[in-house]
């Protein structure tokens, strides 16, 4: 036979190709019995009427043990039987067909056989269900794979829950630490109204702004507000050092310039070499004189304080010089003073406020806008001013990306 003739379907006759002839020998009966999947047919009550050799082989059972003696659900594990009764059987009745259900069969030798089961209801000519035909596929490998997936998902779920719990715990710890850097409440002082506010940019990060206000003796009250460089735990450590150094210095000797110098030395001493750390701060002292407050304050590189007058004006209280605290051993600080009369309010703030981004161009909010905002509200008491600014910060939305501290000190207007 020439190669050309073999390829020509015109001269090909069945039986001349070995593969085709062996296919012809495969009877439907043999295909049923030795198919690469299990077959079984059951009566409507589940009694097995027919089962193929493949499935009997998998289960290690003889035909005599099974046919007419066992029900399909008898071949399942108990859990699988429960599932069969509560899901499989009712669905099959309702739909007439059910496919790809994962069950486990019990083998005579002991081990369970994971299978995928598909069943079809065969109905008689009157529509009455006659029998159930079922195919069974060995799903051992697939089940192992699915279990791996399930295990991985459970592990991922657990890891996520743990991470969420850890995060909540960390947030709580950070909040406690953050609160420790601020006064719990400002003291009540006769004839003085004070108000403070602290905005944390991120609950997961410790802020670097701080303020405090406390009496140093019977007549005088010290206060300060500032901003340390950086964020996070290191900034918090610096904040803590700064706050307690300034507090101790001011209780000892309430002189704003001297106190900032003490802080400067403390920071220089603590943070040396290649880890310089610094802050900006305003420190001050006030004392009552009649119905007024005499205020002295000094600034170390901090944005100028703002004074709102009873007459409806606002002005910055500029301090000349005033270098960053903690940078140079010879830093010089200068003092400025003012008198707050009834209806006047002094505002200290950090640059989170003036450096917020606003508008479509995301420009800096800036000192001029703050001055205009203040002037538009003057005269205003400390609480009302801080509330108005809190509202402003809220309106900044995501334009406010830094921590912001506010401290207002005022003499209430005489009624």
């Amino acid at each position: 036979m020439s190669p050309g003739a073999a390829d020509d379907p015109g001269v090909e006759t069945p039986g001349t190709r070995p593969a085709f002839s062996s296919l012809l020998e495969d009877s439907a009966e043999d295909l049923y019995e030795s198919a690469p999947c299990g077959y079984l047919s059951t009566l409507m009550d589940g009694t097995i009427a027919k089962i193929n050799a493949t499935l009997l082989g998998w289960l290690g059972l003889s035909r005599e043990e099974v046919v007419g003696r066992k029900r399909f659900s008898d071949l399942l594990t108990v859990g699988g039987r429960l599932y069969h009764e509560t899901h499989f059987a009712p669905l099959l009745r309702m739909q007439g067909h059910l496919g790809g259900v994962a069950l486990e069969m019990r083998t005579a030798a002991g081990p369970r056989l994971p299978v995928l089961v598909t069943s079809t209801l065969k109905r008689g000519s009157d529509g009455e269900p006659l029998l159930i035909r079922t195919t069974v596929f060995d799903a051992t490998d697939r089940r192992v794979y699915e279990q791996e997936l399930l295990r991985a998902r459970r592990a991922a779920d657990e890891a996520r829950e743990q991470a969420e719990a850890d995060r909540a715990q960390l947030r709580e710890a950070l909040a406690v630490l953050q609160r420790s850097l601020l006064p719990a409440a400002l003291p009540d002082l006769p004839g003085v109204e004070t108000a403070g506010y602290y905005h944390t940019a991120s609950p997961m990060e410790l802020g670097g702004d701080f303020y405090d206000l406390f009496p140093v003796d019977d007549t005088r009250t010290a206060f300060f507000l500032g901003d340390v460089c950086g964020k996070g735990p290191q900034a918090a450590a610096l904040t803590s050092l700064t706050r307690y150094t300034l507090r101790a210095a001011m209780i000892q000797d309430a002189d704003p310039v001297d106190d900032l110098s003490v802080l400067n030395r403390a920071l220089m001493e603590r943070y040396t070499g290649d880890d310089p750390r610094f802050c900006t701060a305003v420190a001050g002292v006030f004392e009552r004189a009649g119905d007024t407050l005499r205020v002295r304050l000094a600034s170390g590189g901090h944005p100028p304080a703002l004074v709102l007058r009873s007459g409806g004006t606002a002005e910055y209280l500029r301090t000349r010089g005033g270098m960053l605290v903690g940078v140079l051993p010879t830093a010089q600080f200068t003092e400025v003073s003012t008198v707050l009369r009834p209806g006047d309010t002094l505002l200290l703030y950090t640059d989170g406020l003036t450096e917020a981004r606003v508008g479509p161009g995301r420009r800096l909010y800036g000192y001029e806008a703050l001055l205009a905002f203040a002037a538009a509200r003057a005269p205003v008491g400390s609480r009302a001013l801080v509330d108005a600014l809190t509202g402003l910060l809220r309106d900044f939305g995501d334009g406010l990306d830094d921590d912001t501290a506010l401290l207002a000190i005022g003499v209430p207007a005489t009624p």
Binding site: V78, T86, P90, M94, L103
Partner: protein, 268 residues
């Protein structure tokens, strides 16, 4: 969210007559009653619903703590009865819902006047001197089977399955949707069902009660039926010539005529 929407309540059947509430058990939804429904509809107003978490109920109303005890399911039943202002209704509860019916009848005696327990079991797990037919390990196996089979459930299909009240035909077409349940919800219902112990509650039953059991039921074997019969004073026990746990599907005529006979005779 109205109770009707929440529980996918469907009222059908006769306009007048003693109302019959058909309550599905663990596994599928109110479609379980589809073959019995037409056989009872002529003489009785019928109320069908899905427990929250099943069928086309409102899944957003599902709360794990509420549905971790049978009382939560009984509350669904009572709330449906209240919503429809049912009086002296007959609660036909399948499987675990036979026990839900017991709890509901105790909670709302004016609304529920008779019980039909279809394949009930007050306790599935064997204990000293009691045979429920299962061990705790068997229940774990069932939970495994649940995890391996999502039966048409998927998060993306959920909105369709749980329904779109405007387009009910959408859900109707979905394969396996009658038994499609959020796997997390199914697990809670399975645990609640198979780990519960309602044997004490059976003593509280004071209304006429019919117990329907199947001749061969692997979930509620006949000795459990006998136990329930003995525990509920004055109850009637009828063994249906049926195999399996769902006679309302495998023997709907026998199930319906047993219910009808009970209602026309001794259910007052």
């Amino acid at each position: 969210m109205s109770i009707r929407r929440r529980n996918n309540v469907r009222v059908t059947g006769a306009a007048t007559g003693r109302p019959v509430v058909l309550v599905h058990g663990f596994g599928c939804d109110q479609n379980m009653w589809r073959l019995v429904e037409p056989l009872l509809a002529e003489d009785h107003p019928l109320v069908l619903f899905d427990y929250v978490g099943a069928g086309r109920s409102d899944l957003s109303a599902w709360q794990e703590d509420r549905y971790s005890s049978l009382d939560g399911y009984a509350r669904d039943l009572v709330e449906v009865c209240e919503e429809l202002d049912l009086r002296d209704a007959v609660v036909v509860g399948h499987s675990v819902s036979a026990m839900t019916g017991v709890l509901a009848a105790a909670a709302a005696p004016e609304r529920i006047g008779a019980l039909v327990m279809v394949c009930p079991s007050p306790r599935y797990i064997d204990e000293d001197g009691y045979r429920g037919g299962f061990s705790a390990e068997d229940i774990d196996e069932l939970l495994e089977s649940l995890e391996s089979n999502y039966l048409g459930w998927s998060a993306t299909m959920a909105p369709v399955i749980m329904g779109n009240p405007d387009r009910p035909e959408l859900g109707e077409e979905l394969t396996n949707s009658f038994c499609a349940t959020d796997p997390d919800i199914a697990r809670v219902f399975a645990r609640t069902t198979f780990l519960s112990d309602s044997r004490k509650d059976l003593e509280t039953v004071t209304v006429p009660t019919l117990i329907l059991e199947c001749d061969q039921d692997v979930i509620a074997p006949r000795e459990v039926g006998a136990y329930v019969h003995a525990a509920v004073e004055g109850s009637e026990l009828l063994t249906l010539d049926a195999v399996g746990h769902c006679p309302q599907l495998s023997a709907p005529e026998a199930t319906a005529s047993a219910i009808r006979a009970f209602l026309s005779s001794g259910a007052r």
